[in-house]
């Protein structure tokens, strides 16, 4: 692949980390809604479950991004696939949140 089309190690790694974190965020929002002890536990960590969720998201995004950058294999994923993955994660994550709170 030419340099003109290559995303690069860090860009690819953090794109993958963003997609995973976005899906994790929606899953965690639903999980803490279903499982009240989880919500209470998260509340005890940082004073409020919402604050804890934000901190966990940030740690996951930057932590995963750094780990994947070091590992290097994310850079070998085709850029078009990574872009589709990020877009799909945002659509699934967003629609999932709306559907969850609308239906349950």
């Amino acid at each position: 692949m030419s340099d003109y089309c290559r995303l690069g190690r860090a860009k690819s790694a953090f794109a993958l980390a963003a997609a995973i974190t976005i899906l994790f965020n929606t899953a965690l929002a639903c999980a803490k809604d279903v499982h009240r002890p989880l919500s209470r536990f998260m509340g005890s960590v940082a004073g409020h479950n919402w604050t804890t969720q934000g901190l966990v998201d940030l740690i996951l995004f930057f932590g995963l991004g750094l780990v994947l950058t070091k590992a290097g294999w994310a850079g070998r994923i085709e850029p078009g696939r990574l872009i589709s993955l990020v877009v799909a994660a945002v659509v699934v994550g967003s629609v999932g949140l709306v559907a969850w709170y609308a239906l349950f």
Binding site: C5, L7, F14, I22, D57, F61, P79, I83, S94, A102
Partner: protein, 168 residues
């Protein structure tokens, strides 16, 4: 004029939220025409987006934790309970998606976009998704605000104050 800290924080939150969204739109337009000449403007834009949205997050988070419970109680006694149950619940979690995208934007735009078609496409997609989710979050905020308003109006018409109503 009686402007409380509650009002300042809430309006600051909305202002920085819309600034971040507009900055993302700016980045999108600049990236559409990415050239060597506008590389500095793209860098400015991708820096403005996460800064604005982080400030919006801090102000909004503080307001949500300290002032929203009283407004939530008002909403839940009014006719627009969905303003909290659907719109606020979705907004407070959807914001993290926008924030993650905003934090990724400077990484995606780290190199010369005019020399890298894939990075340019990634920046276009991420910036556009920040704009779409940002506008949705702003709209949800307006509905939450209106949920408080219709609850207070109904209570005022009935002549009974609702629980959580702030004394003048």
């Amino acid at each position: 004029m009686n402007i409380t800290m509650n009002d300042v924080i809430l309006l600051g939150h909305a202002t920085f939220g819309i600034l971040g969204t507009l900055s993302a739109l700016w980045v999108f337009v600049e990236a559409l025409n990415a050239r060597e000449e506008n590389a500095t403007r793209i860098r400015m834009g991708v820096t403005a987006v996460p800064i604005s949205l982080c400030v919006a997050c801090i102000l909004g988070g503080y307001w949500y934790l300290h002032f929203y419970p009283a407004e939530k109680a008002i909403i839940l006694q009014g006719p627009w309970t969905f303003a909290h149950n659907l719109f606020m619940e979705t907004k407070e979690h959807l914001f993290f998606i926008t924030l993650i995208l905003a934090l990724y934007l400077p990484i995606a735009a780290a190199e010369k976009l005019y020399a890298n078609a894939s990075a340019r496409m990634m920046v276009l997609c991420v910036a556009l998704m920040i704009v779409i989710t940002g506008v949705a979050i702003e709209g949800a905020g307006a509905i939450v605000d209106h949920g408080v308003k219709v609850a207070l109006l109904r209570a005022h018409v009935k002549g009974a104050p609702v629980e959580g109503d702030r004394p003048e």
